[in-house]
C-alpha cells in the first residue's frame, strides 16, 4: 500500500507546518499580550500621566470683579468698571527684522517707530513685554499684521471713567487682583466673587470633550455690583472746592465729608491732594493712598465745643439760656486755660457767646457743671461717657473703608496720673485738645446731635445690583438711638445757627444764606502737638463742623484743613470758607429742600 504511506507522510508534514505556523501565531499573540500587559498594567501610571499632559486641561476660571456705581441725580452710573486690556509680547528669537516689526507696531500704538527695536533684538530672553494695557482695537490691529513671534494676551483691568473722582475713597486693585485701600479693600471679598474651576479632557484644539467622564466645570460666581451712597456731581464739586482752598491757603492736606444725618449715608468724602486709581503705580508717596477723612485723626480744636455744650444740655446741667460768670481764665494743675485776646476778658457770658466767641474757659466751665461745679472724677466720667458711648469717639465707625483710625480719647481715671493732671487733660478735651478724632467721627457725632439723637452707622455702601439691574438698597443701621434727647437737639440747632449769623456779622460775608434755609456750624483752630512735648507755636489745623437744611438739617458737613497759611485763625480763614462754599453749592443746586417744602 505505497500510496497510503505517501499520503500519510504528506499529512504529517502538512500537520507539522500548520502546527509550526500555529505555534508562531501563538507566540506572536503571546508577545502582544505580554507587551500589552506591560504597557497597560505595569506602565499604566506612566502612560496615563503622559496622555493627560497633552489632553487634560485644568484651569481656574477668574470671576469678574463687581462694578462700583454711584448716584448721579436720580440715576445710577458706574464709576469703576472692568475693561479687557491687552499685553503685547514678543519672542525675539522668531523676529527676523526687528526694525520693520518695531515700526509697524509703533504706528499702531502711536509711539516713535524705533521704540521696540531694541526690545525685539534682545538675545537673552524668549519672552519680552512690548506694551501693556492697550485696547482691543490696537491689539487686533497688531495681531492682524501676522508678525512672527508677536502675540497678545488679554486681562481685565479696573477702569475709572470719572478719572480721579473719589480716588482715595475707592482704593485700587493691585497687580495680584487684590483690592487695596478704600472700598476696594473693605469689600474685596464681595467684589471679588468666587473663581470657577475647569478640569476636562480636551481635543487637539483644546476644546473640552463633552463625552469624557470626570469633567469638572464649576462656573465662577461673579463679584457683587455695588452702589455707593455718594452723589457724583456733589463729590466732584467738593473735590474742586477743597482743591481751590487748599491751593489758596497752602495746606498740605484738606479733608471734607458730607453726610446725610438722617441715615448716615455719605454723600461726598474727599481729600486733597488725591490720586487717580487708574495710575496708582505712579504714586510715589504712599500716604496719598489713605483716605485721610477716615484714617487721619487730629486734635480737632474748638469744634469740640459743640459736643461739650450738647453734653451739658443733655445732662441738664445747663439750659439754652444759661449765663455764667466767666473769669477769663482758669488755673488747673499750674496751667492757665484762657481764651484768645479778641474775646475780651472776664464777664457774664451766655451759651451763645460761648460758641460764637469760642470760649475755652466756657467749655471748661461746662465740664465743671458736669461735676457739680468743679472738675473731678464725676465730671471726667460723665464727659468720657458722652464722648465715647454717646458720640462714639475713640472707636471705629465701621465705615466701609480700609485703614480706619480710631483716634484717642483719654480714660477718665489713669492710675499713674494725679487728679490735677487728669483734670487739666480733661479740661483740654472740652475744647478739642489732648484727644484726636477723624473728620468722619466728628461728622457722625454732629449728625447724631442734629437729627434728634440717633447715631446711624456712617456708610458708603448703598446697596447691590443684580444681573437684571435691579438695586436692593440696604437699610441704615441704627447704632444708638439715645445719643441726646429731642429737646437737646432743638436747643443746640439755634445756637449753631447763631454762630453762623455771628460770623457773618463779623465780616465773613460769604456766610449769607437765604432765610428759608437752616445753616449752622462752628469753627475750630487746633494747636498741633510738638513731638518733643507741648504744642507748636506757629502751626495750627483748621476745622469746621456744620449743617445745612430746611425744616430739618439735611446735610452734616465736617472740614479738616491741615496747617494752612492764613492771616487769621485757621478755622475761620481756611476751614470756614470751604464750609461756606459747600453750603452754597448745596443750596444753589437744589440739594437742600427749603423750609416748608
Amino acid at each position: 500500500m505505497p500510496m497510503k504511506n505517501s499520503n500519510h507522510e504528506f499529512n504529517l508534514k502538512a500537520l507539522g507546518k500548520v502546527n509550526l505556523i500555529f505555534f508562531f501565531v501563538i507566540v506572536f499573540i503571546g508577545l502582544f499580550i505580554v507587551r500589552l500587559f506591560y504597557v497597560q498594567v505595569i506602565k499604566y501610571s506612566y502612560y496615563k500621566h503622559s496622555a493627560l499632559i497633552g489632553q487634560l486641561e485644568q484651569a481656574k476660571i477668574p470671576a469678574t470683579r463687581g462694578l462700583i456705581e454711584a448716584h448721579q441725580g436720580n440715576q445710577i452710573m458706574p464709576i469703576v468698571l472692568n475693561q479687557e486690556l491687552f499685553t503685547i509680547y514678543a519672542d525675539p528669537s522668531l523676529i527676523k527684522n526687528p526694525s520693520t516689526s518695531s515700526s509697524k507696531i509703533a504706528a499702531i500704538l502711536g509711539s516713535p517707530s524705533n521704540s521696540y527695536e531694541k526690545l525685539l533684538s534682545t538675545k537673552h530672553s524668549r519672552y519680552i513685554i512690548l506694551a501693556k494695557k492697550i485696547t482691543q482695537d490696537q491689539s487686533d490691529k497688531i495681531i492682524a499684521l501676522k508678525l512672527p513671534g508677536i502675540g497678545s494676551i488679554g486681562q481685565d483691568y479696573r477702569t475709572y471713567p470719572q478719572g480721579d473722582l473719589a480716588g482715595q475713597l475707592l482704593g485700587f486693585v493691585n497687580e495680584n487682583g487684590k483690592g487695596t485701600y478704600g472700598i476696594e479693600q473693605y469689600l474685596n471679598k464681595e467684589l471679588s466673587g468666587t473663581p470657577g474651576y475647569l478640569k476636562a479632557i480636551t481635543d487637539v484644539n483644546g476644546v473640552p470633550l463633552a463625552s469624557s467622564k470626570g469633567n469638572i466645570d464649576v462656573p465662577p460666581v461673579d463679584g457683587s455690583n455695588t452702589v455707593l451712597t455718594i452723589d457724583i456731581a456733589m463729590q466732584k464739586q467738593v473735590q474742586d472746592i477743597i482743591k481751590k482752598v487748599a491751593t489758596d491757603v497752602k495746606s498740605p492736606l484738606v479733608s471734607a465729608v458730607i453726610m446725610d444725618p438722617n441715615s448716615g449715608a455719605i454723600k461726598a468724602m474727599a481729600n486733597y491732594p488725591s490720586y487717580n486709581p487708574a495710575e496708582y503705580s505712579k504714586v510715589t508717596d504712599s500716604n496719598l493712598f489713605n483716605n485721610a477723612a477716615v484714617s487721619n485723626p487730629i486734635e480737632v480744636g474748638s469744634i469740640m465745643k459743640v459736643l461739650t455744650t450738647t453734653s451739658a444740655l443733655d445732662q441738664k446741667v445747663i439750659k439754652q439760656d444759661t449765663k455764667y460768670n466767666d473769669p477769663g481764665s482758669w488755673l488747673i494743675d499750674g496751667f492757665r486755660i484762657k481764651n484768645v485776646e479778641e474775646d475780651g476778658g472776664a464777664g457774664v457770658r451766655s451759651m451763645e457767646d460761648l460758641l460764637n466767641l469760642s470760649l475755652n474757659t466756657g467749655a471748661t466751665w461746662l465740664l465743671m457743671q458736669m461735676g457739680n461745679g468743679q472738675i473731678n472724677k464725676q465730671a471726667r466720667q460723665a464727659w468720657y461717657d458722652y464722648e465715647t458711648k454717646h458720640f462714639r469717639l475713640g472707636q471705629d465707625t465701621g465705615i466701609e473703608q480700609g485703614y480706619e483710625a480710631k483716634g484717642v480719647f483719654p480714660q477718665p481715671n489713669i492710675a499713674y496720673q494725679s487728679d490735677e493732671q487728669q483734670n487739666l487733660n480733661y479740661a483740654n478735651t472740652t475744647f478739642g485738645q489732648a484727644m484726636t478724632a477723624s473728620a468722619l467721627q466728628m461728622d457722625s457725632a454732629l449728625s447724631s446731635i442734629i437729627n434728634g439723637g440717633t447715631y446711624y452707622k456712617p456708610h458708603l455702601l448703598d446697596g447691590t445690583i443684580d444681573k437684571s439691574g435691579n438695586v436692593t438698597y440696604k437699610k441704615p443701621i441704627v447704632v444708638s438711638n439715645n445719643v441726646v434727647s429731642n429737646s437737646t437737639t432743638s436747643n443746640i440747632i439755634p445756637l449753631l445757627q447763631q454762630v453762623v449769623k455771628g460770623h457773618y456779622q463779623m465780616g465773613f460775608k460769604y456766610l449769607n444764606f437765604p432765610s428759608n434755609y437752616v445753616v449752622g456750624g462752628k469753627t475750630g483752630t487746633a494747636q498741633i502737638a510738638n513731638p518733643n512735648g507741648g504744642y507748636q507755636d506757629h502751626l495750627f489745623n483748621g476745622t469746621y463742623i456744620g449743617f445745612v437744611g430746611g425744616d430739618k438739617p439735611q446735610y452734616a458737613i465736617a472740614i479738616f484743613v491741615t496747617t494752612p497759611t492764613v492771616p487769621g485763625y485757621a478755622g475761620s480763614y481756611a476751614a470756614q470758607p470751604i464750609f461756606g462754599s459747600i453750603a452754597h453749592m448745596l443750596i444753589d443746586e437744589s440739594y437742600v429742600r427749603p423750609i416748608g417744602q
Partner: protein, 115 residues
C-alpha cells in the same frame, strides 16, 4: 387516473422497499458555533458603532457649546468696552470741557419764594 393511483406514483419516486413512506423532519433549526460567533461580533460592532456615533455627536455638541461660550465671552467683552465708552463720554470732566458747557453762563445764588 384516480387520486389514489396518483399518490402511489408520487410515492414511488422516492420510496424504496421496506421504507416508511412518510418521513418526519424536525422543523427546529439551530445555529452552529460559527454563526453565533459571527452574530456576536456583528452585534458588538453595531454597539461599538452606536457608541462611537453617540460619542462623536456629544463631542460635536461640546464643540458647539464651547464655540457659543467663546462667542458669549467676546460679546460680553464688547459690551464691557461699550459700557466703558458710555461712562467715559458721560464723565464730568468731559462734560466740563465740552463746547456746550463753555457756552453756559454762571448761576447766581437762588432764593425760594414763599406764598
Amino acid at each position: 387516473m384516480t387520486y389514489s393511483s396518483t399518490l402511489a406514483i408520487n410515492r414511488q419516486n422516492y420510496s424504496k422497499k421496506n421504507q416508511n413512506a412518510v418521513s418526519f423532519r424536525s422543523r427546529e433549526r439551530t445555529l452552529g458555533p460559527v454563526s453565533n460567533t459571527i452574530i456576536l461580533i456583528v452585534l458588538a460592532c453595531l454597539l461599538g458603532l452606536i457608541y462611537l456615533t453617540q460619542v462623536t455627536k456629544t463631542n460635536a455638541y461640546g464643540e458647539q457649546v464651547y464655540s457659543l461660550q467663546k462667542q458669549q465671552t467676546q460679546l460680553q467683552s464688547q459690551y464691557n468696552n461699550l459700557e466703558v465708552s458710555s461712562a467715559q463720554l458721560q464723565s464730568l470732566d468731559r462734560v466740563q470741557t465740552s463746547d456746550a458747557n463753555k457756552n453756559l453762563v454762571p448761576t447766581s445764588s437762588s432764593t425760594t419764594l414763599n406764598n
